[in-house]
């Protein structure tokens, strides 16, 4: 046993090694991505691991491995579970032989997400067990034990950490990963694996019959705990339980929910012993709904009576306020503290030399009235440059573009999507747009990597998750195979070619694709690519401010003149933008 100071995702990866896991799939998504990044770079790897092209593909691969008896892990962020919902719902019917753990990381407060959905609802919907850790140590232990839990019930288990688990740290006690290889073997069993109506009706019944057993077992395993200490009780789940425990008075009863489904009988016994119950959880009132069902005449406070917010994340200070409002005095109170006002914002921004910036700049220049549907990735930051008009979910730039086109809207439609997102769920949208005769331009922002989530390889990169070289997929061939006639590939650092391609595309009928290709500036730097820096000749600079509006963090003002700071990566686009020729390659003096 050793103790290490670990990131939640490191602790989760370590728990999976201790299970041990045999098969790992997933699609990157903050805050889940580090788990596979850690497992794929582990020096003594004796499991299969892949970055899959999307979450549905990932889950189906993992499910098959679990059918073959292996312990399989499939990781994604919460919205990825929407993509994987199709196999999820029916995998509960077929069940599994080897343990199947689906890690779906939720993001209360939407730190880096498009919504605040709650994966626990999927677990209830699919009728599979769900584990919801409150601490880093628990995240480690639950990840380790989830595989045997899955095998015990022959069901997939949803493991649902939140951002404040995945990206928090704590001292964590670790065990030792056992050596326990399992070769997969598929045993034919059509009644289980072929879900024709005759089979699935029986499987559904079996799934429902498992539920009471699961509820009892989860209490027995200690994931759900209760201590009666007074006449008022607080019930909390996940990380919110940690916030509560920090300030809970000793004469208030406490129930901690870490696993679902909750045993109603056990819950009712606890609730009925109290005069009042406060339920504290993030996102959907999953626990609260269960408590209200068994509460009878016991008053329940929570989201449904407005005491706990439905949105955002909680904190110890937020919980203290909620307790006070419900007549419970927290152990500690907190001062009012007002942030300093009037400060310039420092939001995340596209890197200096990022290939997306010249594309957005050129789109704005050529399509002054254009409509710009976009997608999920670093390039969503193009919002700051006025070149992102919509984002909803992965792949939806193309489909929203075609939908707007068919709606009768007559302005130019120029959609943007990254290489990884295009391969994730963009292709069917493109196929559909061509097939149904949409009129739009699609720019594939091809930086050869899944950048936003931490530079994971994808089929366009040229290597697998384990670094094995693999011929990169041809985006040009893919687009042509979808029926696109106008497919042009350009270097986005070459503004003349980029803008010529955009203008040409404007004149063509149907769906046009421009592939703007340049490696992500971060991966290029890591690979040792060095371009000379650029500089402004102050005597030539006319203080017009055009380069400043380009929005590169390497460009700032020194007085009224432009100045290039040491963030410059040498893309040279600003030199092409400057109308007075004041920007050129740095001359070493």
């Amino acid at each position: 046993m050793t103790t290490q100071y670990l990131l939640g995702n490191e602790a989760i990866a370590r728990g999976c090694l201790e299970a041990p896991v045999h098969f790992v799939t997933g699609y990157p998504g903050t805050p889940s991505s580090d788990v596979i990044d850690i497992l794929r770079s582990h020096p003594e790897r004796d499991y299969y691991i892949e970055w899959s092209v999307n979450e549905k593909v990932a889950l189906e691969n993992a499910l098959a491995a679990a059918w073959c008896g292996q312990r399989a892990l499939c990781t994604m962020k919460h919205v990825g579970l929407n993509v994987a919902a199709d196999p999820l719902m029916t995998s509960a019917y077929t069940g599994v032989t080897g343990g199947l753990v689906i890690m779906s990381a939720d993001d209360p407060f939407a730190h880096s997400s498009q919504n605040e959905q709650d994966s626990r609802c999927y677990a209830l919907f699919a009728r599979v067990p769900c584990l919801d850790p409150a601490t880093i140590q628990e995240a480690h232990d639950m990840a380790r034990d989830a595989f045997s839990l899955s095998e015990e019930f022959s069901l997939p288990v949803i493991f649902r950490p939140t951002t404040r688990i995945c990206h928090s740290k704590g001292d964590t006690s670790l065990g030792f990963p056992p050596v326990s290889p399992r070769k997969g073997e598929f045993h034919k069993n059509p009644q289980q694996y072929v879900v024709i109506p005759a089979h699935t009706r029986i499987l559904h019944k079996k799934l429902n019959q498992k539920q009471p057993l699961i509820k009892k077992a989860l209490v027995g395993k200690g994931y759900n705990q209760a201590a009666v200490r007074g006449r008022v009780a607080v019930v909390a789940s996940g990380i919110a339980a940690s916030y509560v425990q920090e300030i809970l008075p000793e004469d208030v009863s406490f129930m901690k929910i870490g696993a679902y489904p909750i045993d109603e009988e056990w819950l009712a016994q606890f609730v009925q012993k109290h005069e009042k119950v406060l339920v504290i959880e993030e996102l959907h009132p999953v626990v609260e709904e269960a408590v209200r069902q068994v509460a009878g005449s016991v008053p329940v406070h929570g989201k449904k009576d407005g005491k706990v917010p439905f949105e955002g994340e909680l904190s110890t200070i937020a919980v203290a306020g909620i307790m006070q409002e419900c007549g419970i005095t927290p152990l500690r109170t907190f001062p009012d503290s007002v942030p300093a006002g009037d400060l310039p914002a420092r939001p995340p921004i596209l890197c200096a030399g990022c290939m997306h910036r010249p594309v957005f700049y050129s789109m704005r220049k050529i399509f002054k009235e254009g409509i710009f549907p976009s997608d999920i990735g670093c390039y969503t930051l193009g919002l700051q440059l006025g070149a992102v008009d919509t984002t909803i979910c992965m792949g939806a730039s193309i489909t929203v573009g075609s939908g707007i086109s068919h709606s009768g809207e007559e302005h130019d439609i120029v959609a943007t999507i990254g290489d990884s997102t295009f391969l994730h769920t963009g292709i069917p949208g493109l196929l559909n747009a061509v097939y149904n005769g949409a009129k739009m331009i699609l720019v594939i922002l091809d930086n050869r990597i899944t950048a936003m989530t931490g530079h994971q390889p994808n089929p366009a990169t040229g290597e697998t998750a384990c670094g094995i070289p693999m011929p990169p997929v041809s985006l040009e061939s893919l687009c042509r195979a979808c029926g696109v006639v106008y497919v042009e590939t350009v270097d986005p650092y070459d503004l003349v070619s980029l803008q010529a391609a955009l203008k040409n595309a404007q004149e063509q009928p149907g769906v046009k694709v421009i592939i703007a290709r340049q490696p992500c500036v971060i991966t290029a730097r890591r690979a040792g690519i060095r371009r000379g820096r650029f500089q402004v000749e102050p005597n030539t600079c006319t203080e017009c401010g055009i380069c400043i509006k380009f929005g590169c963090p390497a460009l700032e003002k020194a007085g009224e003149k432009a100045y290039i700071n040491d963030l410059c990566s040498g893309c040279g686009v600003c030199a092409q933008i400057c109308p007075s020729g004041a920007i050129g390659k740095e001359v070493k003096r």
Binding site: Y5, D171, I239, P335, D336, L343, P344
Partner: protein, 202 residues
């Protein structure tokens, strides 16, 4: 119930906050103490404002509540001001005396306060102390070591035995840079002594 000693690290994505936070966590392990931490990953790392929470002897959630941090270590003056409301009354701030003007100032014509204004606003009810970490890091041998300079400077305010932090630095920095970082820590610690003695400029 015993209180944790809460440290907030603030700065800009890319300045080495995660390594700094790991060093403080490792120092806790060296002393056999519990610790909780939280930090910004993902979207916010693209040059955005970032924060790291460290709760020494922490046993519960990782987040420090506004108005309760015992110490702030700021890698950028403007970020020090942005997060200053996290500090408890009487808490200490050790601040890198440099700051990067956000691109929003140039793009949207927002105004950035001057160094003097920042210091004036910080000093009203808190104890800021400026450290020229960039220069000390250069002196140590690498501008990248400014995060370790800052830990050295702030070490006077941390509840660790003197060897625990320097030991943690040596365990966690890349092997090739141990010498530079050891020097960075020592230079920072020497400079930070003035902060401990109540000076605002170390």
């Amino acid at each position: 119930m015993s209180r944790s000693y809460d440290i907030l690290l603030v700065g800009i994505g890319g300045q080495g906050i995660i390594l700094a936070s790991n060093i403080l966590g490792e120092a806790c392990l060296i002393e056999g103490r519990s610790v909780r931490g939280a930090e910004t990953h993902g979207m916010a790392q693209r040059g955005g404002s970032v924060e790291g929470h460290i709760r020494i002897d922490g046993n519960f959630g990782p987040l420090i509540a506004p108005g309760t941090a015992d110490l702030m270590i700021a890698f950028d003056m403007l970020e020090a001001l942005r997060y200053s409301h996290f500090l408890a009354p009487g808490g200490h701030m050790v601040i890198n005396s440099h700051f990067v003007i956000p691109t929003s100032v140039f793009m949207q014509g927002a105004t950035a306060p001057s160094k003097e204004e920042i210091l004036e606003r910080l000093g009203r009810d808190r104890n800021p102390c400026l450290v020229d970490a960039d220069t000390l890091a250069e002196e140590a041998g690498s501008p990248l070591s400014q995060n370790v300079v800052m830990i050295g400077a702030a070490s006077w305010f941390m509840p660790f035995a003197p060897g625990s932090l320097s030991g943690a630095v040596e365990r966690l920095v890349p092997k090739k840079t141990v010498e530079i970082n050891r020097k960075a820590f020592d230079l920072g610690r020497a400079a930070g002594k003035a902060c401990r003695e109540g000076s605002r400029d170390a």
